[in-house]
């Protein structure tokens, strides 16, 4: 019997929803970590028991990272700060944006992408982390600038088979990748446009505002990216990118999700523009491509009818990795929707929550 666990990070805490078996009603648990902004949620499903992560920060009390080994019933926080900049950097952690377990090829390794721009790596399953100094000391660093959300490293894409290779995205610095375990990093933005720059400077080596990058484990060199205006695909692990925007109502948005079984099936939530961060068509619609971005279809069965004004943030859409695949997203209106069939139909899982910042899900047998 397959149980699904959905971890929801909001602006004022985290919740766990459970569906005990396919077709059953969702059971929404209590709000945990109240008054914490939970931008980063993660699920490490490599072990016998999944480990849930909630990166919680408070304007008053600072950022920290909780983990749960009982599917969110209880949360633990190490005594020593799990993610902290070394003294010699003089830098203070502002927020943990991304918690991402590495692939099976790197057991125990978990990455944290943070603000200000930096990557941390854990080798003990996400309890304690160390700064990846190769990226922190990158010569481009002084030229990275904050996006609207801050100077954040918000995306970590570990290579599914080669533990030495990791790709990250930061706003606004663009995509970077390492092939030597983090010692050295190269920008990987060729073909991604910075539309706001003068015409002769729109394809810089770095500085793009990439909002999310996603990959499929079966095709690790294939990447999909949702940019600050622009939707892209790479067939060479970021060496070059091609736009996949034909048929979209807008190229602006935040999330990018790949179907767990279908490497050509991807999901986004287009917004009208950076100056108008509302659903691109005025409706609550997920856009799905089933041919790697050549064409797109609006999905709205089961979603609210009529005008809809809430956006979906970069980590507020996910799959559960199962088969058939569940697709989930949360909105800034505090609603969470899920589809048990890859997006053909959606159902409301939760409403009246604080605005949703992140969701992660897993199917358990």
């Amino acid at each position: 019997m397959t149980e699904t666990t959905l971890l929801i990070g909001t602006r004022k805490g985290a919740l766990v929803a459970r569906r005990p078996r396919p077709g059953a009603a969702w059971e929404l648990g209590p709000l945990e970590l109240p008054m914490s902004e939970v931008y980063g949620t993660g699920i490490d499903a490599r072990g016998a028991t999944p480990r849930l992560f909630a990166a919680a920060d408070s304007p008053h009390w600072g950022p920290t990272l909780f983990h749960s080994d009982d599917l969110g019933r209880t949360w633990a926080e190490p005594g020593e700060a799990p993610v902290a900049f070394p003294k010699e950097t003089g830098t203070t952690l502002i927020r943990i944006w991304q918690i991402q377990a590495a692939a099976e090829s790197a057991p125990g390794v978990v990455y944290a992408g943070v603000e200000p721009h930096a990557l941390f790596r854990s080798e003990d399953g996400g309890v304690t982390f160390s700064l990846v100094e190769g990226l922190y000391n990158h010569p481009h660093r002084s030229e990275w600038v904050p996006g609207n959300g801050g100077a954040c490293l918000h995306t970590v894409v570990p290579h599914p088979t080669d533990p030495e290779r990791v790709l990250v995205a930061l706003s606004a610095g663009g995509v970077y990748r390492t092939s030597d375990g983090g010692a050295t990093w190269e920008a990987a933005n060729r073909g991604i446009q910075s539309y706001w720059m003068p015409e002769d400077q729109r394809f810089p080596e770095f500085g793009q505002c990439v909002h999310k990058v996603a990959s499929h484990p079966s095709f690790p060199d294939r990447l999909y990216a949702q940019n600050h205006f622009g939707v892209y695909r790479s067939e060479n692990y970021g060496t070059s990118w091609e736009p996949i925007e034909s048929g979209l109502p807008s190229t602006f948005g935040f999330p990018m999700v790949v179907h767990p079984q279908e490497p050509e099936t991807i999901y986004i939530f287009p917004l009208k523009a950076d100056s108008h961060r509302f659903p691109a068509t005025g409706r609550c619609e997920v856009y799905r491509s089933q041919d790697g971005g050549k064409s797109w279809t609006a999905l709205h069965r089961g979603l609210p009818e009529g005008d809809y004004r809430a956006a979906v943030l970069r980590d507020a859409m996910c799959t559960d990795g199962g088969e058939p695949a569940g697709i989930y997203f949360g909105t800034r209106a505090g609603e969470v929707y899920g589809s048990p069939d890859g997006g053909d139909h959606f159902e409301k899982i939760a409403e009246h929550l604080p605005d949703v910042l992140s969701v992660r899900a897993v199917q358990l047998n």
């Binding site: 008054m35 304007p59 009390w61 600072g62 005594g79 902290a84 830098t91 203070t92 952690l93």
Partner: protein, 91 residues
């Protein structure tokens, strides 16, 4: 002789539910350094990893903001009370 660290409600869970803690006389910095060893969860909600008091917090020694005294080098005398005061902010 000791002084008293007075905690806001939101920090009491990190202090084992206590509203007040005894701290040794000395500077504010030395008191917080000691706290980092005994109650690290509490200490890092007050100071960041660089030892700076978090920006939405003020520490008052009696009725005075330590920033108007000698900052973290302010001496905490025996019998005095050091208050952790969060900003009235948020929504």
């Amino acid at each position: 002789m000791t002084a008293t660290l007075v905690l806001p409600t939101a920090l009491r869970e990190a202090a084992g539910g206590l509203p007040e803690l005894e701290i040794a006389e000395g500077t504010v910095r030395s008191a917080l350094d000691l706290l980092a060893g005994t109650m690290p969860l509490l200490e890092r909600r007050v100071r960041d990893e660089q030892g700076r008091v978090r920006p939405h917090i003020r520490l008052y020694l009696g009725s005075s903001d330590i920033e108007d005294l000698q900052g973290l080098d302010t001496m905490v005398a025996a019998g005095s009370r050091l208050y952790v005061i969060p900003a009235v902010s948020g929504g």
